[in-house]
């Protein structure tokens, strides 16, 4: 039994993990960098330890310091959250070596899924459909052309060692094949020192649909259905929902089975996500596996009724899964919006700073996972995500209405946020009809960037508020000089007054 968990993370995910620990009667240990002394995870935890300077490579990525704290505090387990060390096989291995339970998969599972080509090979062996393409890195141009003719155009040429779009070429016409391969190889060589490339069929209207899985250490595994994550900006998910509006029960069952098979192929234990790319005709292909909790895990929790962090902890303790595939059901519809400290009107520039004022959405069907508070300064060193707003309703339509209502009530001043942009997404025709793919934001750019009209009177109210605020201040300053009470004292005094004239 785990008694004390060190949460090797910060922000909303650290709090989310600690909340489940608290419910299980498990003590939580926070670690914090210099920038995070006043962060909520430090305040919420039972214990808190300083682990280094603000840049994450000197603190949240510093394995030595984190292991030190685990020993010093007597933590018997470490939860890595997402990001930072969550998919670091060396960290998982180190925990194992130190006799500390890593709440996540084994080093073998992490590294097997970490290398894209290796993962692909394994999936083919396990009969999980992968995007048609080459399983091995290709160095021979002739072979590459043959392969492409076999797969059929369009194809994507990708660097084996790659990432971040470098060494990537889309080929639509036959005559471009050779030049594309050459330029991809040369770019790959420059960027990664390795000119190996591989070829994949290019999916024209891709949907990003992923399956949540849970697997214990006794060979039991279940999936908890899909999440639709096609609303993306620059490959970053912005809005997620479940069930996917694209899905049907047969395909869901098929994909779920493959997801479980994929996890079993790497002896997986813990919570994980199998990402698929799906085309308009519901052809689906394994894309990659995330060997950790996802940011969007709450929509699954809501629709299936499971606390994924608690399941992770129970699996790490060596317990058998109590969830049975045929007892799991999806009930209703959930949507998550990621709230970022960024300025949608200014090319989504990050907007760190001090939170002056915050009003959180409340009420039926709303879950809010955040970590900021009034007076808190969002540091410049980390991810600008402020919170996750999750709504549930019986139907997709009602869930969209509820998300609009929650975004309406969610107010943060002092910094810019993505809230108005998210509200626009909820009003976009393609989103409302569920007819969207990963090109959604690009295709709807004009609509999404358009401002909600405030109206002339509304704008005048903004002018009047500033006017009154300023003149009250001036009056008050004068009043203080003259020893008179300023008229500005309406603030909070109304309650004491015997009567207020009203029109």
């Amino acid at each position: 039994m785990i008694k004390k968990v060190l949460v090797a993370n910060r922000g909303e995910i650290a709090l989310r993990v600690m909340r489940s620990c608290r419910e299980m009667g498990i003590k939580s240990v926070a670690v914090f960098s210099e920038a995070d002394r006043s962060s909520m995870h430090v305040r919420y935890a039972d214990e808190a330890y300083f682990i280094g300077p603000s840049p994450s490579n000197e603190s949240y990525l510093n394995i030595e310091n984190i292991i030190d704290v685990a020993k010093q505090s007597g933590a018997d387990a470490i939860h890595p959250g997402y990001g930072f060390l969550s998919e670091n096989a060396a960290f998982s291995e180190r925990c194992e070596k130190e006799g500390i339970t890593f709440i996540g998969p084994s080093p073998f599972s992490i590294s097997s899924m970490g290398d894209k080509i290796k993962a692909r090979t394994r999936m083919i062996k396990a009969n999980v459909p992968v995007v048609p393409g080459t399983a091995e890195p290709i160095t021979d141009e002739k072979l590459a052309i043959e392969k492409i003719e076999e797969i059929g155009l369009p194809v994507m040429i990708k660097a084996s060692a790659g990432g971040g779009g470098k060494g990537m070429r889309l080929v639509k016409k036959k005559e471009d094949i050779v030049s594309a391969i050459r330029s991809a190889r040369s770019e790959a060589k420059t960027a990664f020192g390795d000119e190996a490339v591989y070829i994949e069929k290019y999916i024209e209207s891709p949907h990003h649909i992923e399956f949540q899985i849970l697997a214990d250490k006794h060979g039991n595994a279940v999936h908890l259905f899909e999440r639709e994550c096609s609303v993306q900006r620059r490959h970053q998910k912005v809005v997620e929902e479940t069930p996917s509006p694209l899905m049907n029960p047969e395909i869901r069952e098929e994909m779920g089975k493959y997801a479980v098979a994929a996890a079993k192929a790497v002896n997986y234990h813990g919570a994980g996500t199998i990402e698929f790319i799906v085309d308009n005709n519901l052809n689906y292909y394994f894309l990659e596996m995330n060997t950790r909790l996802q940011v969007e895990h709450p929509i699954t929790e809501r629709v299936v009724g499971v606390d994924l962090v608690k399941e992770q902890i129970k699996i790490a303790e060596g317990k058998e899964l109590t969830l049975k595939q045929d007892e799991l059901k999806q009930f209703g519809h959930a949507i998550e919006c990621r709230i970022y400290a960024e300025d949608p009107e200014n090319n989504f520039m990050p907007s760190p700073g001090v939170i002056k004022h915050i009003t959180e959405p409340l009420g039926l069907g709303v879950r809010h996972d955040g970590y900021v508070y009034e007076g808190y300064e969002i540091p410049i060193y980390y991810d600008p995500m402020i919170s996750k707003l999750i709504v549930w309703a019986k139907t997709r339509r009602e869930a969209i209405e509820r998300m609009k209502r929650a975004l309406y009530a969610y107010k943060i001043t002092g910094i810019k946020t993505s809230i108005p942009f998210l509200a626009r997404i909820m009003e976009a025709e393609d989103f409302i009809t569920g007819n969207y793919n990963t090109h959604f934001i690009e295709d709807n750019r004009d609509f999404l960037m358009q401002q909600e009209p405030c109206g002339e009177r509304c704008k005048d109210m903004a002018v009047i508020a500033a006017f009154v605020h300023y003149t009250d201040k001036v009056e008050k300053a004068k009043g203080a000089q003259n020893g008179k009470t300023a008229q500005a004292n309406a603030w909070k005094n109304f309650g004491r007054k015997k009567s207020i004239m009203r029109w």
Partner: protein, 168 residues
């Protein structure tokens, strides 16, 4: 007494005609509003105008004359134009031109400074790179300039709108 208030590109004449506690009559240009205005939280105003309920949130800039004003889905920059402001505007030509001052609109960290004092830089040249929240931004000069002064060094944490480099 009327005051000029600038919102986005428009300057409105605003005048308080009558006030009794939180009930007031205000003229904005040629429109007259009877409103019930109350500061309900620090910087947050609830306004009822013809019974329509508006919530307006102000964030004051340091000079107490510039505000960021949020209505439901809109954010405005609002400026109070009083005598002092008008005076400054009148002699603006003498002031340091904005283009001569390199700054980042948001707080962050100086990643790299690509120039030294005395360097001649061409229009479009990057002078300084600032990072904030996993994203790097390059700040360039708009015209050919000479680097006059560098006020920060690499690794420094900077505020939004802080002058980083002065060029001429």
């Amino acid at each position: 007494m009327s005051i000029e208030v600038k919102i986005d590109d428009h300057t409105a004449k605003v005048e308080l005609i009558k006030r009794e506690g939180n009930l007031m009559t205000v003229r904005v240009d040629d429109k007259v509003y009877d409103i019930d205005l109350m500061m309900v939280e620090n910087g947050v105003y609830s306004i009822l105008s013809d019974h329509i309920s508006y919530n307006v949130e102000l964030t004051e800039q340091e000079d107490q004359k510039h505000y960021n004003v949020n209505t439901l889905y809109n954010a405005y920059d609002v400026e109070i134009i009083d005598a002092e402001t008008r005076y400054k505007q009148g002699r603006k030509g003498d002031d340091v031109d904005d283009v001569k001052r390199i700054f980042s609109p948001m707080p962050g960290k100086v990643v790299k400074i690509l120039v030294e004092v005395g360097d001649e830089v061409k229009a479009g040249d990057t002078v300084i790179i600032v990072s904030a929240m996993k994203m790097e931004s390059e700040y360039k000069v708009q015209k050919d300039r000479v680097v006059k002064e560098i006020l920060v060094k690499e690794g420094d944490t900077i505020d939004g709108n802080q002058t980083l480099v002065v060029v001429e």
